[in-house]
Symmetry: C2
Subunit: 169 residues, 2 copies
Amino acid sequence: MKSTYHSNSNLDLSFTRVIHVPRTLVWRAWTEPEWLKPWFCPLPWKTIACEIDLRPGGIFHTTMQSPEGVEFPNDGCYLEVVTQERLVWTNALLPGFRPGKPCAPADADDAKFLFTAMLELADADQGTRYTATVMHADETGCRQHAAMGFESGWGTALDQLIAMIQLES
Amino acid sequence: MKSTYHSNSNLDLSFTRVIHVPRTLVWRAWTEPEWLKPWFCPLPWKTIACEIDLRPGGIFHTTMQSPEGVEFPNDGCYLEVVTQERLVWTNALLPGFRPGKPCAPADADDAKFLFTAMLELADADQGTRYTATVMHADETGCRQHAAMGFESGWGTALDQLIAMIQLES
């Protein structure tokens, strides 16, 4: 049985686009490390490592590298995997569903905001309806993510995904 | 595909017992509110409310009441449901997989320790092999839970579960 999304406009960021890329290839771009690394970070940032165990409780690890060469590892855990349709993961749990270390409050300088992300794919005319949603724990985390450029960041990465697939085909 | 448990003896508490109760009834006792409430808290504490949406992302809510009448609500989210075999839930996520509010560090006075719990059931001679495992984020949370009497608390509740089923049958 699929999970139910409990939307909350004060806590969630979401955007939808129809893209002219088949669902099968969008799914591969999200779920195979060699397909994910080229597009996942808006350039000039890079994704230099990726590990995927595509099942609930499985690891979703990426390491991003800044233009200056600083590395930022991200550890998450898949929660729901519905092939070519829905992918849900969180950074609040580590692989095997273990809770992550308690974090500082969201207004602290060293806060890491917790999120659960959901990618939804559906058929659309000549392509795929692509919806990305990020759920946050509180409004501070949500605002912080919006200020970091959620929609432009995810949008730029999606443009890179589309360009990669068009180059391959 | 089932999740993989990553054991860590510094962070996890676990106990196993063989009980003379059929798996089908143990499963009902864990997954139907009217079956759960009578046994879930060691007496004289009581479980006065329970809500269950038995699927990944679904709510697992209980309200416990102390002998003095103080109520303690607990909100969690199921992560994995394998009928009569495995049940995994966490208090690090709210229903719909939303991250819970950032919490204080585990050594703060008002810390709520985060956990993910896993119930595993298997056939055994004349009954069921019952394993309960609780994964913590850090050693402080694990020690705190052990000091609260994890094994005696879960063991007493299990005795109450067995007694309830024996009374019913």
